[in-house]
């Protein structure tokens, strides 16, 4: 019964979102603000309905209701509870439901948000958001009903793909979707602005928190996915340039550009036309990602069961939203008034450089991902575009971009002084070169590029630190500290995020020094990777809730002393007749020792693969630091209290005023 009500709630949500979509248009035709205000409760009700439907599906999964087809195909009564819950979105139908749930969640939050969004802009934005929600709800109801029943109900389910039975599934897709779908709000704001034909700094201020929040989620979501792939796929790689990874990287690159261009728009009223285009493109790339994953045009580890009708439907959605929004853009963008002027050497100029290189990187990934498809359908020639291509093209675009970052922070708005900025960054430069030379000296004879990468990372971190130091420096330490504390949180957020990029760069560069060793070991056999030696103590069978496992028990020694034990294993899931490897990890500081097991021979020897991965955790920690920086920026005073122009200036220069103490107008 609950299942049918869930299905009904989904249909109701469709009707509600159609209402929410139509009302702003009708309101402006009828000139009736009351009609416009209906969008707010409609957004909330849509969210409530979809949340109910999601809850119903989750309930079916948790209680292993095998009369529901979706549960049969993706669950098993013996599966641990966490995977029963995360299994809800570990399949096509359920993940689509999560997609619209988050879409509606963002709609509801915009409806409730108390920041100073003009009512017409808010209503139009909610209207556009409702259009996206409606189309995707229609997609679910027509092609991917998660509530389909199965009669007669089987006794047992077919279990979830073992690769997905991992805590990563509980975290990675929700975060990623919060990012992907979060950009829908920016998109909706952009379309609303185009419809209204008005776009200004207030628009940028209204959009910026959403963009920043979506960007933070996407950053952590991608990092989480990368770490998951690293420990699950068993050969120690952390980025594979897989089409689906690329599908998440493209909106991230475009979104990163957008986060920066909205700064220019908010502060200087410039780059408006470009920012609107970027907002459209970022969400379009998110939609493209959805299409690539679900249509089956590209196959990878991530693709769900493919079905041509679904592919065609999503292609239709893609054409509707991307084509429609770009047509609207072409029609309306020329009417947008151009804003502030700036010299090429200025903070705006640096941010334009940022946008140029990020766009080029994004275009490279896009073309690289789709080129084989296009070429094959045009000429029939089959080529592959893989990691060597992307490494070769992406890195030369990333390096100049990263070199500009500290300059961008230092240069003044409107017209900057490059010589003065270089002077200010001189110490940072010198220290970064010292770090590079140190890295060369310590690892003499190793890879040549890696020390340069370490130096680049150090340069970014030092540049970020120097930015804060320069802005806070005063005669005495006490005053300096107080000034540093009084800096806007967005300044701290920027510095933190840029330092995070540096941390990731160091982690990536250090992988050139990772060591791999492989051997078939007898009991008591040893294998060395870098400073660590693994000793195979034994191989034991083990039984989990829904699998059996062969575990290799390895003692890790460093300089003769045991420093830990790792137990890589190979799990066999009888329900799916499938094995997956479980890597064993030993974390030493931010470095890791990584082991995985291969085949067990007839003589009792076991294939062991051992890696020493220096500083590897920095890759993902850097991403977390980036997201924290974004989050810190999000708590900046101007987002909490709305437009500062209409409020008294900061009363106490020593610290930000808490939001409740701001007098009401």
């Amino acid at each position: 019964m609950l299942i049918e009500v869930g299905h009904y709630a989904l249909a109701l949500a469709l009707a509600l979102s159609l209402t929410q979509m139509v009302m702003p248009v009708w309101a402006s035709r009828a000139g009736d603000p009351v009609l416009r205000s209906i969008t707010v409760p409609a957004a909330l009700a849509t969210f409530a309905c979809i949340a109910f439907a999601f809850g119903a599906l989750t309930y079916a999964h948790v209680t292993s209701d095998f009369s529901v087809q979706n549960v049969v195909e993706n669950s098993h009564s013996m599966k641990p509870l966490i995977y029963k819950i995360s299994g809800v979105w570990g399949n096509h139908e359920g993940s689509m439901l999560l997609w619209v749930l988050i879409l509606a969640l963002f709609g509801a939050v915009v409806a409730l948000a108390r920041n100073s969004v003009p009512p017409v802009l808010r209503a139009n934005t909610l209207g556009v958001q409702a259009a996206i929600t409606a189309v995707f709800l229609l997609f679910i109801l027509v092609t991917s009903n998660p509530f389909a029943r199965l009669n007669p109900a089987p006794m047992e389910g077919r279990d979830l793909n073992p690769l997905l039975q991992d805590p990563g599934l509980a975290i990675h897709p929700p975060l990623l979707y919060l990012g992907y779908v979060g950009f829908s709000i920016t998109f909706a704001f952009a379309i609303a602005a185009l419809i209204e034909g008005r776009i200004d700094a207030a628009w940028a201020r209204a959009v910026r928190p959403w963009t920043l929040a979506a960007w933070c989620f996407l950053t952590v979501g991608i990092a989480m996915g990368s770490y998951w792939a690293y420990y699950e796929l068993g050969w120690g790689g952390w980025w594979f340039w897989d089409p689906v990874e690329n599908a998440s990287l493209m909106p991230w690159l475009a979104g990163t550009a957008l986060v920066h261009s909205t700064v220019v728009m908010e502060k200087r009223d410039a780059l408006k036309v470009w920012t609107v285009l970027l907002a459209i493109l970022t969400f379009s790339l998110s939609l493209l990602g959805t299409f690539l994953v679900r249509s089956g045009v590209l196959t990878s580890v991530h693709t769900f069961a493919t079905d041509p009708t679904r592919g065609t439907f999503i292609l239709g959605i893609l054409v509707l939203f991307i084509g429609g929004s770009l047509a609207l853009y072409a029609w309306r963008a020329p009417t947008l008034r151009q804003g502030g002027l700036f010299a090429p050497i200025s903070r705006e100029g640096a941010l334009v450089m940022n946008n140029l290189f990020l766009s080029a990187a994004c275009a490279t990934v896009l073309v690289g991902t789709l080129y084989p498809l296009a070429l094959e359908s045009l000429t029939g020639e089959k080529i592959s575009v893989g990691p060597p291509f992307f490494n070769l093209t992406f890195v030369p675009l990333a390096v100049p971009l990263l070199l500009v970052v500290p300059f961008g922070q230092t240069l003044a708005w409107k017209r900057g002084d490059l010589a003065a900025a270089s002077q200010r960054l001189f110490v940072g430069f010198a220290l970064a070169i010292a770090v590079t030379l140190l890295a060369v000296a310590v690892t003499w004879g190793g890879p040549v590029g890696a020390p340069l990468g370490i130096g680049l990372g150090a340069y970014l971190i030092l540049g970020a630190a120097f930015e804060i130091v320069t802005r806070a420096r005063a005669k005495t330490v006490g005053v300096s500290l107080r000034r540093a504390a009084g800096l806007p949180r967005s300044a701290w957020g920027t510095a933190l995020a840029h330092a995070g990029v540096g941390v990731t760069v160091i982690g990536i560069a250090a992988q050139a020094w990772s060591v791999e060793a492989l051997a078939t070991l007898p009991r008591g056999g040893e294998l060395r990777a870098g400073p660590y030696v693994a000793v195979l103590e034994g191989v034991l069978p083990r039984t989990g809730p829904n699998y059996t496992e062969t575990v290799a028990h390895l003692t890790i020694r460093e300089g003769g002393d045991p420093v830990g034990v790792i137990e890589p294993g190979k799990r066999f899931y009888a329900s799916r007749n499938m094995s997956v490897s479980e890597a064993g990890l030993l974390t030493r500081g931010v470095s890791q020792v990584y082991a995985s097991v291969g085949e067990t021979g007839t003589d009792g020897r076991v294939g062991i693969r051992l890696y020493y991965k220096p500083l590897v955790l920095l890759i993902w920690l850097g991403a977390v630091v980036m997201a924290l920086g974004g989050g810190l920026s999000l708590t900046d005073r101007r987002f909490r209290v709305g437009a500062p122009a209409s409020r008294p200036a900061i009363r106490d220069a020593a610290g930000p005023v808490p939001p409740h103490s701001v007098p009401a107008e």
Partner: protein, 159 residues
């Protein structure tokens, strides 16, 4: 792109599912005795696609076909082939599809030049925009204005 027939799909699926999920790909017995040759073999392997897998290099794949290719690569190296010779040997037998880094030729020119094209055209557009929007340089005064200025100066001086 024509969709693969159901039979082919089933076959591919079976291959994916039946491939032993050993961790990592290169097996200890494959490793060459000469570490320099082995390092070259690994580098070459990372450039070659496993034809029955999705986006895996033969260095990462566990599929039997990938293993065969790895052994071919090592065999060619043992015969004294250079890196390029090994790659072209494999391409001759398996086609260009096997290369993860496509060759630079007419049919891949757009692919390879995308980064340059975007940065170049973007830079050009920015330069043009900056030129267009730069305020016009101050033009000289007309004769009448010169006269008016001279008149003002004369008056100020005479006061």
């Amino acid at each position: 792109m024509p969709a693969p027939s159901p039979a082919l799909r089933a076959l591919l699926l079976a291959l994916v599912l039946l491939a032993p999920v050993a961790a990592g790909a290169v097996q200890p017995e494959e490793v060459m005795k000469d570490p320099a040759l082995e390092a070259r073999a690994r580098t070459i392997s990372a450039e070659l696609r496993c034809l029955v897998c999705q986006n895996q290099s033969i260095d990462d794949s566990d599929a039997p076909l990938a293993r065969d290719l790895r052994l071919i690569v090592r065999e060619r190296l043992r015969q004294g082939d250079g890196d390029e010779a090994v790659l072209s040997y494999v391409v001759q037998r398996y086609g260009e599809f096997v290369l993860l880094r496509p060759v630079l030729a007419w049919h891949t020119a757009f692919l390879w030049f995308t980064p340059v094209l975007v940065v170049g055209l973007g830079g050009l557009a920015l330069w043009a925009a900056a030129r267009r929007r730069r305020p016009a340089p101050p033009r000289g005064l007309t004769a009448a204005e010169e006269a008016a200025v001279a008149e003002l100066v004369r008056r100020a001086e005479s006061r």
